[in-house]
């Protein structure tokens, strides 16, 4: 059975800034906390693809292009990470246009 498609689009909170380190981590800064989030390279890759246009499906597909992994596993990991970002109010969801 094919995976259900996920056409939701994650959008970063406007007040966030981030920086990519020389060692490919991403440091996200939320000045309203203030709080900082340090992402490892996989999570950083997802974060950098959150551009307000890509859907969850798009992000998952891009990762699968670069990783040899089960689609179901990648989909689950991406969703888990995005849910964590939502819990921290770092992203919001919108429907694809």
């Amino acid at each position: 059975m094919p995976d259900a498609s996920d056409r939701r689009v994650p959008r970063r909170k406007d007040t966030l800034t981030h920086e990519v380190t020389d060692t490919d981590e991403v440091v996200i800064y939320d000045g309203s906390g203030p709080q900082l989030l340090v992402l490892n390279d996989i999570a950083a890759g997802v974060w950098l693809m959150i551009d307000g246009a890509r859907t969850v499906d798009d992000i998952t597909a891009e990762i699968l292009n670069h990783l040899e992994a089960e689609r179901a596993t990648v989909t689950r990991d991406v969703l888990t990470f995005l849910d964590q970002l939502e819990e921290r109010k770092l992203i919001a969801w919108q429907e694809a246009t």
């Binding site: 920086e19 060692t23 203030p34 900082l36």
Partner: protein
């Protein structure tokens, strides 16, 4: 998730759990929250420099934290580290509850009728513990410490065992005769309590006729003899209107400007029975600012009361730590009891520290030790 608390000199409090670090700089109230995997945890000594650089670019505070982590060892947050802070600075020792005055605001509720006092064996042990803990300063207070039969003995003993500095906090009424002659030889510092240039106002606060003239005379003599003298003026409704004239008067006695400090009455002891009016508290009192301008870095203090009870400070009587009748001062102050995470309460309290009279160090200790900011 259980967090472990750490103290980092000068005044950092860190709460750390897997994936999360909350860092608060107590003096400024700045706070930062960092989430990361264990690999990128700021307390992981292997954290890449590039990540630290990035963190510090976003938050200069983290640049300071990084420097501190490089220079200082993290100390688990225990009752001892909370009390000691950046190092043991001042131990208050109340030799006696008895006083030859009966000030209307006295935090210790001292009076001529009180009889509680520290006996010499326990007092000498307290001084030995103060030396062992490496306190910078022991202040002998009370009541009036000069009334205690052990005051001179305590100053002599402190010098003998090498306590760096002893200060006698007194109204000066008993600073005369052989007592004065011996103390002048020993050379402790003196801190005098004084209330007004106006004898009637001063005597009304001390409830002791003639006390103004006697205290002024004691101050003048100690200054003239080259002793180290400072004067503390507690401001309250009765005397705050003439603070400027009192300041001038003290300068006229020869007290150095930098050694005159005005402080607000605290709602402790008899001060609690005369609540501080909000408008009285807010009114501007001229101050030379010895206390208020003193750089603070969460230095450690403790107080031994005349009944043997130990507190973090003379004003923190809501936080009894133990009694020297049951165990030693050393054991009371060096307890390794861990401190439960209190960062939310600490931040809530920190936002209101300026509204209280007590110093931020006492307020922080109050939150850390009992979860409430009652200081």
């Amino acid at each position: 998730m259980n967090a472990t608390g750490y103290f980092l000199p000068d005044d950092w409090i860190l709460w750390h759990s897997e994936g999360l670090l909350e860092a608060t700089k107590l003096s400024s109230g700045e706070h930062i929250r960092i989430e990361a995997t264990s690999e990128h945890d700021p307390l992981n000594s292997e954290l890449p420099a590039s990540v630290w650089d990035s963190l510090a670019r976003f938050e200069p505070l983290l640049g300071q934290l990084r420097e501190q982590l490089q220079e200082q060892a993290l100390q688990p947050l225990t009752r001892e580290t909370v009390l000691r802070g950046s190092g043991w600075k001042q131990l208050f020792v109340e030799l006696t509850a008895k006083c030859n005055e009966q000030c209307v605001h006295c935090y210790a509720e001292s009076s001529p009728a009180r009889t509680e006092a520290l006996a010499w064996p326990e007092l000498s042990k307290v001084l030995e513990d103060a030396k062992a803990l490496d306190f910078d300063l022991v202040q002998l207070t009370g009541g009036d410490p000069l009334i205690s039969p052990h005051c001179i003995q305590a100053v002599e003993f402190a010098a003998e065992i090498g306590i760096p500095q002893v200060e006698i906090y007194t109204n000066g009424l008993a600073l005369r005769g052989k007592t004065y002659d011996r103390l002048r030889e020993l050379g402790p510092s003196f801190a005098f309590s004084f209330y007004s240039h106006c004898p009637e106002t001063h005597d009304a606060i001390t409830q002791t006729p003639g006390s103004h003239a006697r205290t002024a005379r004691a101050i003048r003599r100690a200054v003239d003899d080259g002793l180290n003298v400072r004067v503390g003026v507690v401001s309250m409704e009765k005397n705050q209107h003439d603070a400027s004239k009192t300041h001038e008067y003290l300068l006229g006695l020869g007290v150095r400007d930098a050694s005159i400090a005005f402080d607000q009455m605290r709602d402790v002891g008899r001060g609690d029975a005369a609540p501080i009016e909000a408008d009285t508290r807010a009114a501007g009192v001229q101050t030379a600012g010895v206390e208020s301008a003193r750089p603070r870095n969460f230095g450690g203090s403790a107080a031994v009361s005349y009944d043997g009870q130990v507190y973090p400070c003379i004003f923190s009587r809501h936080l009894p730590l133990g009694s020297i009748h049951d165990t030693s001062l050393d054991a009371i102050l060096t307890s390794a009891d861990p401190i439960a995470p209190q960062h939310k309460k600490l931040l809530q309290a920190r936002a209101r520290w300026g509204e209280k009279l007590s110093c931020w160090e006492c307020q922080a200790r109050s939150v850390l030790l009992d979860g409430n900011c009652n200081a």
